[in-house]
């Protein structure tokens, strides 16, 4: 790597091994809506290393719930909701999963518990218990406004 590059990295104080901030909120069952009010949204989920299968199983049901929903806005939400996993560890050895919603459906409720309960009312409690117990600490939920699309 050129010396210049290394210098740039250091000057903005980036770390290689601990690049993820600690969660700001705890994932707990809640009836409070999680609204995205601008162009996009980002959620950092901090998941216990031994519970990633549980988390991913519920994520698969979440996808199903959105796609099977009779509400058009739910299918709209599905269209731009992606789930990623990061190899960088989160706080306390957690695994970081990132939800990107871009574009967001403005004003739509992205609360996982609500979405599951709408489509799978009989299973919602069990599914959300499995989901919330997979969290190591919590999540960061961020509303985003587009500043620049570098392709346009």
């Amino acid at each position: 790597m050129p010396a210049f590059s290394l210098c740039l990295f250091l000057s903005i104080s980036i770390s290689l091994s601990a690049q993820v901030a600690a969660p700001a909120q705890t994932a707990t069952p809640s009836s409070a809506p999680r609204l995205l009010t601008s162009d996009g949204g980002l959620v950092l989920n901090f998941i216990k290393a031994d519970r990633t299968a549980d988390f991913e199983a519920v994520v698969a049901r979440l996808k199903e719930a959105l796609q099977k929903s009779p509400k058009p806005e739910r299918r709209q939400q599905a269209a731009s909701w992606k789930v990623y996993k990061s190899p960088e560890p989160g706080p306390a050895g957690s695994v970081v999963y990132v939800f990107t919603m871009e574009p967001a459906v403005k004003g739509a409720d992205y609360s996982v518990s609500t979405i599951l309960a709408e489509t799978f009312p009989a299973e919602a409690i069990v599914l959300f218990k499995q989901y919330s117990e997979s969290f190591a600490g919590g999540l960061n939920f961020v509303n985003l406004t587009l500043v620049q699309d570098l392709a346009k």
């Binding site: 740039l8 104080s13 980036i14 706080p91 999963y97 990132v98 960061n140």
Partner: protein
């Protein structure tokens, strides 16, 4: 907002320790190369330097689009910049870089892009860019592998 800020401050403390360790390492991999499907960087910018940050990112866009290298143009295609509603650590403004898709193996280091594509002007711009960052500079740098696309 406060909850987000507190969470990110904790991340900063961890990151600072790791940075000190990194300084002693002989050759580190370039963290701005994304080998997987996507990437996210949360940049913490000083509240009074957002105009500088956005100006430089405008130049980065211009540099990518005018580049003679096809891989630079490809990087522009999936790169979007968002501003978060939520505040970052120490009152900073969070700018999220979202690379979706990432150009696999592409170097997304802003410093390298500016200097390689714009020469001496790029060095001046990079100083403006790096001076715009708060402390910590980066809240998260995540190399992402897609787990689910709810729209497919």
């Amino acid at each position: 907002m406060l909850r987000i800020a507190v969470g990110l401050v904790v991340g900063m403390l961890v990151a600072s320790t790791a940075q000190a360790q990194q300084a002693a390492a002989p050759a580190a991999p370039n963290p701005f190369v994304f080998p997987g499907d996507g990437g996210v960087i949360l940049n913490f910018v000083k509240a009074d330097k957002t105009a500088d940050f956005e100006m430089v990112m405008g130049k980065v866009k211009e540099a990518l689009m005018k580049s003679t290298k096809p891989e630079r143009k490809a990087q522009a295609t999936g790169w979007k910049i968002f501003k978060a509603t939520e505040a970052g650590a120490n009152g900073s403004v969070i700018y999220a870089f979202v690379f979706d898709p990432a150009q696999k193996g592409g170097d997304y280091s802003v410093g390298n892009i500016l200097v390689q594509e714009l020469g001496p002007e790029g060095q001046t711009l990079y100083k403006t860019y790096s001076d715009s960052f708060g402390t910590p500079a980066i809240g998260a740098l995540l190399h992402l592998t897609k787990v689910a696309d709810f729209g497919q």
